[in-house]
Symmetry: C2
Subunit: 579 residues, 2 copies
């Protein structure tokens, strides 16, 4: 309300207060008769939906599949996505990041300059506009944002700049799978940081790490059920095609995940198998692998412990490809893993023996390079970061990925700060969170949590137990039929009581019950087209953390039945809510 | 805060309350030092940006152009878009519409079925995925939503269903122009209604009309400046390629608009020139136009008043194309506009005379059809809906378009309710609002409003005067340099006072001043890299409705300078905010 003294124009307060909300606070509670939330029976989901949590998302009316790797988000799914977004927005803005939106359909010129038009290969959706200009559907926005910020910032005084967006991204997945986890079109948060030197960029990287920690702690939070275990972890990761100096993945442990993470049993060390390291243990038995340079100029013999696996990055580090078994190299170079510390003479014998049957005309050994890291870390290996720990392997869903990019993009596109000899390229970082993947990972845990909480096998029910911060609604008020005016009045009074922020201590036979549910988060099941039983079943499937039932017990005793996600049921006398 | 009596687990209230907001209420106020909002000088915008409001959006740091017809929205633009979205969300949900999100990348199969793959022509962005499957970037979602709802609803009991989304749409515009008004990628709200019969569908159409009225009244609201004129209007429109039975466009009057609307000076009648009608006035002088059927089987002579223009839809109604001047038709049919009521014999003479010089071998007149509507309505014509009004022409920006679709899509795709002989196709409506176009139209008016409010030519400034409901911020607190701890403390105290919802009546020399600005809507200009003058200039350019200056006047007298969008400046003593 803004009243200007002289003019006395009153702007109606409804308008003044209702900004910035994804849905109206005025529409309290949300009536299920007006919310499109179709639930499905167990047999309505196809056998192809092999993932239990996806089946439940379909059955609960959260999502629908539109094509392979493509989903429509229904109102309940949208509410969860909006809550996840809300948490991300808060934590991003807490570290001074501003929200922007860049186009999804981009010209290809900048991508040619950075070399990613080729590097992204067939994962990139490409098209041509009516004039024949080559365009792409953005899978990420490093090029675009580098130009946006780089073309306007020319002084270190204006840095740091941190901008992020939450929007659709596209990737031409060869094998869309696992429901929301690997899709052709997905919702992503992408943050970009710009600093004037490497130290400042590292400080930005650390700030984002703390923000990510807050985000995932808030999103994956089942504390209200007494669950204190953290389900996510940050792991060292490979920078891959994105480039840059270092990188972390954020994972949620899950058997359907596509990543394998090795984590220490004793310390906080965690890394993707792609780049995990372990403490070298002296080896007793050895193997020799043959590789070559791409141009076949040199043959390489790699000496590793017998049971070890070559590290996926080792080949790249030395510029090697598999030996083609042909031709004759002049030189034979020997690379020795740090776990195989041996005198050069012994190594020569091992190499000669190891390749004697494979190479007809063995070249002379030209160099021996010991103490390199050739082996991938494996479960059971001793941790490289602490004295006592051993590495354990977990399957995990990658929900976030951060990269300290350095000057990879600013150099390629020519953007920097300062002038003349003082001019330096912008130092960048980029940071993603897969918003729809977070929803998929949440669903996996929430379905397992349901099973854990509902051990009574006779119920034969299924559903979700969501974290409070992201549940589509905090509470459901469910009056049994018939929906008499008196009962609906009581139901509305209950909604208002829950809503007003000063809910009294309600007395139950087992002690006081303190509840406060924000008003915009209450659903009222006023549907008359469904049976009472079907609506109770729906409530379980959808997974409301609190369900208030005005049924037979209420009619007889005046007590409201309160079902809590943890499995507890309480009966409460609530003033003003009596039959 | 939710405290469970038995477990005594307290969920921290910050998490509990902060859902559903586009940005954090906790971050109060927003500090401009951490908001990416680069303003540009007048000469930094290119001469090609011929539209004044676009120049101002660029200069004020609202948007940046990324390519022809493609824009990035910067934080200030995003805040406005989020506010417009918030209003749309509220009004959609007030009529029982649920928010969903469908994919933007769609398969082409359904579009082939409805015939729109061909009908949309080169406006549709087309591409192929890695398997060669034909895909499109959705310009709209009738096909997809018809399948989504149609495949799950099979009983009239489950209707009505109303679902909407707010997301990116794509159109391969041949001539992107006018800044945000005609772009290749834009933000649109699209609502779809499903009913079981035509009457219910009409009721839905009427509900949406009222919701649209609320939306545009709230968005285009300069009442705080004493402006009561409505800048938008609903006009009857052609259904075009979308199909259906009737249609309305929602326009904002503006000289840069691409549509021309004819509106009655006396009644509420308004229609796009494409379909406007006017009262027939008896004509004195006549013209004869020649047309033919596509197969040249019949020649048509159209008799109209001399000065009249053929209605764009008349040709389509009679299945005519322009006469190719060749061949010889056996029959000559005569169509006579209702303004040319004449005896058949007179008409025969007029037609023979009118075409004598153009057709060598004039066929005999086979039929004469009088009282048809052939003429387009023109400015100055008498209104067809009321006795006294005359039509006036306005250039206008189309910001919304609604269609009563009938069964155009449900029949083509085979979706209906009921079974056997009782089965009927779904009755649909579709309803768009161009969200980024609304921003463009707002900018046009807000720039003109600034000029109107700032008649003092010597100031030579430019900027926006936004409606309160959609301004990026409601208020700015601007301390002059140096930013001493005392001054920043006073600035923060002022923000807190504005924020707490119980702002006192501040006394000024000219009477009390009542202000309430929601806390999440205050910006604090704490930038030290810019001069005081540059920041004052920025404040004008961006267009904060209220600016509180802690400058020299405040240092001397303790009074805060309050600049209001209307041009008024007041000085107020505010307790706790003194030097």
């Amino acid at each position: 309300m803004w009243i200007c003294a002289r003019r006395r124009i009153k702007v109606h307060s409804a308008t003044a207060r209702r900004v910035h909300t994804a849905w109206p606070k005025a529409a309290r509670p949300v009536r299920l008769s007006a919310l499109y939330s179709p639930t499905l029976s167990a047999d309505a989901t196809s056998a192809a939906d092999s993932i239990e949590s996806l089946k439940l998302l379909l059955r609960g009316g959260y999502v629908r599949q539109t094509a392979s790797g493509s989903y429509t988000y229904l109102p309940l799914g949208m509410r969860m996505i909006d809550k996840i977004r809300g948490i991300i927005d808060e934590e991003m803005q807490a570290i001074g990041a501003s929200c922007i939106e860049m186009p999804q359909l981009l010209g290809s010129a900048l991508w040619h300059k950075t070399g990613r038009m080729d590097a992204m290969g067939s994962e990139l959706f490409r098209l041509r506009d009516r004039r024949g200009a080559e365009m792409i559907l953005a899978p990420t926005h490093e090029e675009e944002v580098t130009r946006l910020i780089g073309s306007e910032i020319d002084s270190a005084k204006c840095l740091p700049v941190r901008v992020y967006q939450i929007g659709r991204k596209f990737r031409d997945e060869p094998r869309p799978r696992a429901g929301l986890l690997r899709t052709k079109e997905f919702l992503m948060k992408d943050l970009y940081t710009f600093d004037s030197d490497a130290d400042a960029a590292k400080a930005s990287y650390a700030d984002v790490g703390r923000a990510y920690s807050n985000i995932f702690n808030r999103v994956f939070d089942w504390q209200h059920l007494g669950e204190s275990a953290t389900v996510w972890r940050a792991a060292e990761a490979d920078t891959g095609a994105m480039g840059g100096t270092f990188s972390h993945e954020y994972h949620v442990e899950d058997p359907i995940g596509e990543d394998t993470v090795l984590s220490c049993s004793a310390c906080a060390y965690s890394a993707n198998t792609e780049c995990a390291t372990s403490k070298a243990q002296p080896a007793q038995h050895f193997q020799v692998q043959l590789h070559q340079r791409a141009d076949a100029s040199s043959l390489y013999a790699l000496v590793m412990p017998k049971s070890a696996v070559l590290h996926p990055l080792a080949m790249a580090r030395f510029g090697l490809v598999s030996w083609n078994g042909e031709g004759r190299a002049d030189k034979l170079r020997v690379l020795v893993d740090s776990s195989c510390a041996l005198p050069d003479t012994t190594l020569r014998t091992i190499v000669q023996d190891g390749i004697a049957n494979r190479v007809t005309d063995v070249p002379a050994i030209s160099t021996i390079q010991q103490d390199t890291q050739l082996c991938a870390a494996q479960a059971g290996d001793p941790c490289s970061e602490c004295p006592d720990g051993a590495l354990e392997a977990h399957r995990a869903i990658e929900v976030g990925h951060t990269f300290l990019l350095g000057t990879r993009y600013s150099t390629a596109l020519g953007y920097g700060v300062g002038s003349g000899a003082q001019r330096v390229p912008l130092q960048m970082g980029c940071y993603g969170i897969g918003v729809t993947r977070v929803l998929g990972a949440l669903a996996q845990h929430a379905a397992r949590m349901y099973t854990k909480q509902n051990t009574n096998a006779q119920r034969k029910r299924a559903g979700f137990v969501w974290p409070l911060a992201v549940a589509p609604f905090r509470a459901l008020v469910l009056p049994s039929p018939p929906h008499t005016p008196e009962k609906m009045h009581a139901a509305n009074t209950l909604c208002a009581l829950l809503d007003n922020g000063t809910a009294p201590r309600w007395c139950t036979s087992s002690g006081p019950l303190h509840l406060h549910v924000p008003h915009y988060d209450i659903a009222l099941d006023d549907r008359s087209c469904l049976s009472f039983g079907a609506r109770i079943f729906d409530a379980d499937l959808v997974g409301y953390p609190l369900v208030f039932i005005l049924g037979k017990h209420w009619e007889k005793t005046g007590e409201v039945e309160v079902r809590m996600a943890g499995g507890t049921t309480r009966y409460a006398h609530i003033e003003g809510v009596s039959p």
